[in-house]
Symmetry: C2
Subunit: 350 residues, 2 copies
C-alpha cells in the first residue's frame, strides 16, 4: 500500500479531481497534500466531504516529513501538459526516493530528465494514462454474462466516476459481486488497473474499452460498472464517449447530470436536457447493440437541499425514471431502484 503525497498547487480546494477521487475512494493512504493556497489546514477542513485528516502543506519538503512513499500528481491541467513549475517538485520527490504516479497526458517516464533521475535513484514512474498495446474491437464483449452498466453524462467532470464507485459500493453491500472498470486516470489510480481511453489511438479506443470490460468479466462478477468519460455532445471529447458506448457493449446506462450546467465547460455548446440525452444515447446504441437508460444520478452539490429535492422530483416527472443524488442521499435507494431493470437485461444475481 502506497503512502501518497499529493501535488495539487493552487488547485486542491478548486478542481483537483484526481486528488479528490484518490482521497475519497483509493485503496492507498494520503499522508499530505501540497497546495500553498490552503496550507495549514487539513483535507477535511477544506473539503468536508472528504474522509481524511491529512495535512495540507505549502512545499514538497514539508510533505516529505510525513514519510510518503509516492508523489501523486493530483490535478490534470487542460490539455494535460506539465506546468514547468512542478518539474522541480517532481525531481525533489524522485531524489527523496518516492515513486511518481501521474495521470498527465505528457508521459513523465518519457521525459529524459525524470527518467534519468528515477533510474539513478532506483525508483519508478507510473504514467497511468500510458495505454498498453491496443486491440481492435472484436465483439467478444457481446457475450459477457454479467449485466454491464455504463455511466454517461451532460458534461465532463460531473461525477460519473463517483456515481460508478457509489453504485459498486451499494452492490457489494448487497453481496452482489460488482466490478468497477476504470477508464480514466483517477479511476485507474483508485482501482490500480484500467486504461485511460482518452489516451488511446482513436481507431483502437472501442477495442481498448472492450478489453478492460473483458478483463473485469474474467473475474466472473455479477455486475460490471464502467466509468464514463466526456459527453456525447462535447465538441472535443465526444469520440471517447462514443468509444465507451460501443466498446463496453453496455446493457444499461446511468445518466449523470449536473443540472446547474448550461454549457459544456470552456466550449459554450449548450448542455442537453434529460430527455434529449436519453434519446440521443439510446438512438446511437440502438444502431449497434440496444441499451436503455436505467436511471439518472444528479450531482446537486451546487444546489440547496430544497432545490436539489425539487430538481430530483422534476427529473422523475419528466423522464419517469429512477432519479437521485447518490452522494447527497447515499447510493442505496437509487441502486435498489435500478436493480430490477438490470436484472431484466441478463439473467443475473444483481
Amino acid at each position: 500500500m502506497r503512502r501518497y503525497a499529493i501535488l495539487a498547487p493552487g488547485h486542491f480546494a478548486v478542481d483537483a479531481k484526481t486528488a479528490h477521487g484518490v482521497v475519497a475512494y483509493g485503496n492507498d493512504a494520503t499522508v499530505a497534500v501540497i497546495d500553498p493556497a490552503c496550507a495549514g489546514r487539513t483535507v477535511r477542513e477544506v473539503l468536508p466531504h472528504l474522509p481524511s485528516d491529512a495535512p495540507i502543506v505549502a512545499t514538497i519538503d514539508e510533505a516529505l516529513t510525513f514519510s510518503p512513499t509516492a508523489l501523486l500528481i493530483g490535478t490534470a491541467p487542460k490539455g494535460g501538459a506539465l506546468p514547468a513549475a512542478w518539474r522541480r517538485d517532481i525531481l525533489r520527490a524522485i531524489d527523496a526516493g518516492l515513486e511518481i504516479v501521474s495521470g498527465l497526458h505528457d508521459m513523465l517516464g518519457d521525459d529524459a530528465e525524470f527518467a534519468a533521475a528515477a533510474q539513478r535513484r532506483g525508483t519508478t514512474i507510473w504514467d497511468v494514462r500510458k495505454p498498453p498495446q491496443q486491440p481492435l474491437f472484436t465483439g467478444r464483449a457481446y457475450d459477457v454474462a454479467a449485466p454491464t452498466l455504463l455511466m454517461v453524462g451532460n458534461d465532463c467532470a460531473v461525477g460519473k466516476m463517483t456515481v460508478a464507485l457509489e453504485l459498486v459500493r451499494a452492490a457489494r453491500e448487497r453481496n452482489v459481486r460488482a466490478e468497477f472498470v476504470p477508464t480514466g486516470q483517477t479511476g485507474i489510480m483508485i482501482a490500480g488497473w484500467g486504461i485511460a481511453i482518452d489516451r488511446v489511438i482513436a481507431d483502437f479506443a472501442a477495442g481498448a474499452t472492450e478489453a478492460i470490460v473483458l478483463e473485469a468479466a474474467s473475474r466472473k462478477p455479477d455486475l460490471i460498472v464502467v466509468e464514463g468519460q466526456g459527453a456525447i455532445n462535447h465538441p472535443a471529447y465526444a469520440p471517447v464517449t462514443l468509444a465507451l458506448m460501443y466498446g463496453a457493449t453496455p446493457d444499461a446506462l446511468v445518466l449523470v447530470c449536473d443540472p446547474t450546467l448550461r454549457e459544456i465547460e470552456s466550449y459554450g455548446t449548450p448542455t442537453l436536457g434529460y430527455r434529449e440525452l436519453i434519446r440521443i444515447h439510446e438512438a446511437l446504441l440502438a444502431t449497434v447493440k440496444p441499451a436503455r437508460v436505467a436511471g439518472i444520478a444528479l450531482n446537486t452539490k451546487r444546489m440547496s437541499a430544497d432545490a436539489a429535492a425539487a430538481e430530483i422530483e422534476r427529473a422523475r416527472a419528466e423522464t419517469l425514471l429512477p432519479v437521485d443524488d447518490v452522494v447527497r442521499n447515499g447510493p442505496h435507494a437509487f441502486y435498489d431502484a435500478i436493480a430490477p431493470f438490470l436484472r431484466k437485461t441478463k439473467r443475473c444475481a444483481v
Copy 2:
C-alpha cells in the same frame, strides 16, 4: 513527382483501396504494381475504371526495372500490422534507393531494421499516418468563411474519399476554388498533406480534424470538402467518424452509401437505411453545430445499370434529396444539385 511501384501482393484486384486511390487521383505517377495474383496484365486490364496502363508484376525485382523512385504500400491489412512477408520486399526497395511511403498503423520509420537500412542507403520513409503534435479542439473552425462539406456513409470503404475528390473536381471545373481535406492515408498520399485521424489519440481527434480544416481555410477557398472515415454505427471506428463530425464543423454532409450492404463489414452490425442515417447524423450535429445532409452519393458498382437507376430513384423518393452515383454518372449533375444548398449555408462563391 514520384514514380511509384505499388506493393499490393494478392490484393490489387480485390481491396487495395490505397493503391486504387493513388492510381485514380494521385498527383504522382504509378510505373508498376506488384501482385503475383494478376501479374502479366496492366492495371486497366484488371480494373477497367482505373486510368493507367502500368504493368502488374510478380516481384519487387521486376518492378525495379521500371525505374520507380518510391515504393508505396498499397493496401492496409485489418488492424494495420505489417505482414512479415512484406519485410523482405521493403528492404529490397530501400537497398535500391527507393523512398518508402506507407499508410500502415505500424510506423515503418520506427522499425529499427528499416530505419537503419534507410539511413545507410540515404533514403527516407514517409509514414503518412504518423500524426503531428496534436492540438485540442478550440472552436476556431466555427469561423471558417467557406462552406464545409463532410462525407459520411453507411460503412467503411464505400467510396467517401472518391465522392469527395469527384466533387472537388466538379467544383474546380466550375471555377469554384475547392479544397480537399484528407483525413486518411490514401487521401494523404493523393493530396500530399493531411492527418490520418484514425491514428490520432482519441482526446485530440476532433482537434486534429479542426487543424486540417483550418489549414485548408487558410488558402481562402470557396469550398472545403472533407474526406470521411468509418460510419456512425461502426462498432470499432465510429469514434473517428464522430471526431470528423464535430471537429470539421461542417455546414453540410454528403451521405455516401453502398446500397447492397446489409452489415457493417466483419462486425455483423446491420447497416442503416437512408432516413435513419440522415436522422442520426443530423441529430448529433444539432447538439453541437447544426448541419444537414445535402445529398446522397450512391456507390452502385455492385449493381446493374437498371438496378442502380432504380435505387437512385427509390432513394430520391424516400428522402426528397439529390441522389446520384458520381462515379457511374459523373459528379456534375450531383454537384449542381447540392450547390444551392451549400450556397445557403454561408455567403460564398460555390
